[in-house]
């Protein structure tokens, strides 16, 4: 009889004692391993890794642009008249746009600027605008998307209408038109800073509905899941459920679409600059180089190819990495 109640109690206590650490351990391992599984998958995807490495190199190039230019090139706004041929109307001397050992990407027609430093400094504008615009789009898109999906009703109706409306805007036209009505300086900010801020706001603002729609769809289906029901029946409030229950489950899709919206932003920034709505000269910009190259592409195709390839490689690298990341995080998708 003494043994009677004892074993259950002991069993019970050992069970509880065992269970607690085991559970937290399991959770810890699982939490780590989910990320690790994705990382392992990503590591095996050589193409995605190559994209990722190129992205990192490009970011480093942008950050260390002044150092790089000092080491292997010439300051971006130094004119090199001696490298131009006055008989050809200021086209670079030599073949392939004047590419040589000290002018790795050739020189710009008429001005003789070193194209290498133009490209390297152009990467700064391009990447900064793309990343900040992605941040704007992701912040607005995920907050409004999750709110629309979770609350439903009129909140959903209102947010969804706004998203439909934004997608119905002729965005490129609207963006260039908006930039054109803005003055040269505003609230004490001028020049490059103002233009970049405008680009970030415009690109980010038109980009958020794409993320908003995806997040809304995900939140809509997550809302019906048992763990949300459980949390609600334990007395959790809306804000807690939104940020502690739903948002962690949305991190993967948000992350993937952030990596995939960056290349779109790079293309948009370049397109706006190409149309004359980007940063103003003399700040180097890939899109503006392209629009200038339109005037010389028959006699000097190198001038067009260099910034074109820069845009292509950057966008392609981000796309490769983003695609790989999506496959790694959600193997069912493909």
């Amino acid at each position: 009889m003494v043994m009677g109640p004892e074993p259950p109690a002991a069993a019970g206590s050992t069970l509880v004692a065992d269970e607690l650490p085991v559970e937290s351990e399991v959770r810890a391992i699982e939490g780590r391993s989910l990320g690790r599984i994705a990382w392992n998958r990503l590591k095996r995807d050589r193409i995605a890794m190559a994209g990722g490495i190129i992205v990192i190199v490009l970011i480093l190039v942008a950050i260390f642009a002044p150092v790089l230019v000092k080491l292997v090139a010439h300051p971006p706004n130094d004119f090199h008249d001696d490298l131009l041929d006055p008989n050809l109307g200021g086209l670079p001397k030599g073949r392939f746009g004047g590419i040589s050992g000290s002018y790795l990407f050739g020189v710009q027609p008429v001005t003789g600027r070193d194209m290498f430093s133009q490209i390297v400094y152009g990467a700064r504008v391009s990447l900064t605008v793309a990343f900040l615009a992605a941040l704007v789009a992701v912040l607005i898109g995920s907050v409004l998307g999750v709110a629309a999906g979770y609350f439903g009703g009129w909140v959903d109706a209102a947010i969804s209408r706004v998203m439909d409306l934004l997608l119905a805007f002729p965005q490129l036209l609207f963006a260039i038109a908006l930039v054109s009505v803005l003055p040269q300086s505003l609230w004490g900010f001028g020049g490059t800073f103002l233009r970049m801020a405008v680009l970030v706001v415009v690109i980010g603002f038109f980009g958020w509905p794409y993320i908003g729609r995806i997040v809304r769809g995900q939140a809509l289906s997550l809302r019906e899941r048992e763990f949300v029901e459980a949390s609600r029946s334990l007395g959790a409030r809306g804000g807690y459920i939104l940020f502690r229950e739903l948002l962690p489950n949305l991190v993967a899709p948000i992350l993937v679409y952030t990596t995939l919206i960056i290349p779109t932003n790079i293309l948009n920034e370049a397109a706006l600059s190409f149309l004359g709505a980007g940063v103003k000269s003399p700040t180097p910009s890939w899109g503006r180089l392209m629009s200038d190259a339109v005037n010389y592409y028959q006699p000097d195709p190198t001038y067009m190819i260099v910034p074109g390839v820069a845009i292509f490689v950057t966008v392609m690298a981000f796309n490769l990495f983003g695609d790989g990341l999506r496959d790694a995080l959600d193997p069912r998708a493909h």
Partner: protein, 333 residues
């Protein structure tokens, strides 16, 4: 079905009204907020105060914004007069505005440039639809094989290439180096269909390549998803030929999302293929807008933006109605 169409129609009109209101508001509010005079944007670099005041009055810029918007909508529906006695300018409906700077009616200019944009957009659409959907289907059916990888790599490159780059590159190769094609340009279809096609073939292919890449990716993803559905397995289990399973069962539901995207893309392009028109120097709606922007010709910018929005809303409407036909469930929603 009828009620569904009516409902979509009303939603479309409301969207259009909001788009015009927002566009209008921004183009009149932004200069106000930042301290530039909209009348100055209209008249150009005139320093004469009397002329500026005259322009302000003539265009009704002295009135409140809401009233100006009312006048604008009224102009769209019944036409309007830009007032003031002797030099009254009449603008018949649909009045999208009048360019005082360059002396032309915005609607008439858009109407005369629409064929350029429409030729470009429709021709490219035919190519990208065939190329993109075809490549996507082949890729999905040969998943993981060499051809799938080749198509998908090409498609990824396609979505990563800016159109002004591919445009210039292909022009410099095919027109100026190999001399296979005449230099791109627009000539009316009715004048000579052959020169029309020859002048547009390069813009078509360039524009179509970009979209075909997106469509190939989309088609492949949708097709793969469809192929894993139970009803496809059922169709195969019934002993249907593979051709019937793919061509009839799978293709149909694959094409539904593509219809949606296609409608929206075509609608967006009809409002002006800004980059393509700029690169190939085609005088369509997009080029109009770019020119207007570079000369700060506000009525033209406003007109083209709204016209473009109209096409997008119209495309949305057509897609919605088509969707109602293809998939009866959406009518109830």
């Amino acid at each position: 079905m009828f009620r569904y169409i009516i409902r979509r129609l009303i939603a479309g009109v409301i969207t259009l009204l909001v788009v015009t209101l927002v566009t209008f508001g921004i183009f009149f509010m932004v200069p106000k907020l930042t301290g530039t005079d909209p009348a100055l944007l209209y008249t150009g670099k005139q320093t004469d105060k009397v002329a500026i005041e005259g322009a302000r009055k003539k265009m009704g810029l002295d009135k409140p914004v809401i009233e100006q918007y009312g006048l604008f909508v009224k102009g769209l529906v019944v036409g309007r007069d830009y007032d003031d006695g002797p030099d009254k300018t009449h603008c018949p409906a649909p009045c999208f505005g009048y360019s005082f700077k360059n002396q032309f009616n915005v609607w008439q200019r858009m109407l005369s440039d629409l064929p350029v944009t429409a030729s470009l957009a429709v021709g490219a659409a035919v190519i990208w639809l065939i190329l993109g959907v075809g490549a996507g289907i082949i890729s999905a059916l040969r998943k993981g094989r060499a051809i799938d990888r080749a198509v998908m790599t090409g498609a990824l490159a396609g979505v990563s290439l800016p159109i002004y780059f591919t445009g210039l590159l292909s022009a410099s190769i095919f027109v100026y180096t190999l001399n296979w094609l005449p230099s791109p340009g627009y000539s009316p279809f009715l004048q000579n269909p052959l020169t029309w096609a020859q002048g547009l073939i390069l813009p078509w292919i360039t524009l179509a390549f970009l979209f075909a890449a997106t469509y190939a990716r989309l088609t492949r993803a949708t097709m793969l998803e469809t192929l894993s559905e139970d009803y496809i397995r059922t169709a195969r289990a019934k002993g249907l030929r593979e051709r019937t399973v793919i061509g009839k069962h799978a293709l149909r539901s694959t094409l539904t999302p593509i219809t949606t995207v296609f409608g929206l893309d075509l609608g967006a392009l009809l409002g002006g293929a800004v980059l393509t028109e700029t690169v190939f120097n085609l005088n369509g709606l997009g080029k109009d807008a770019v020119l207007a922007i570079s000369t700060s010709d506000l009525p033209v910018i406003l007109g083209v933006t709204m016209f473009a929005a109209f096409f997008i809303v119209l495309a949305n409407l057509i897609v919605d109605v088509l969707y109602g036909v293809i998939d009866p469930r959406v009518r109830l929603a």
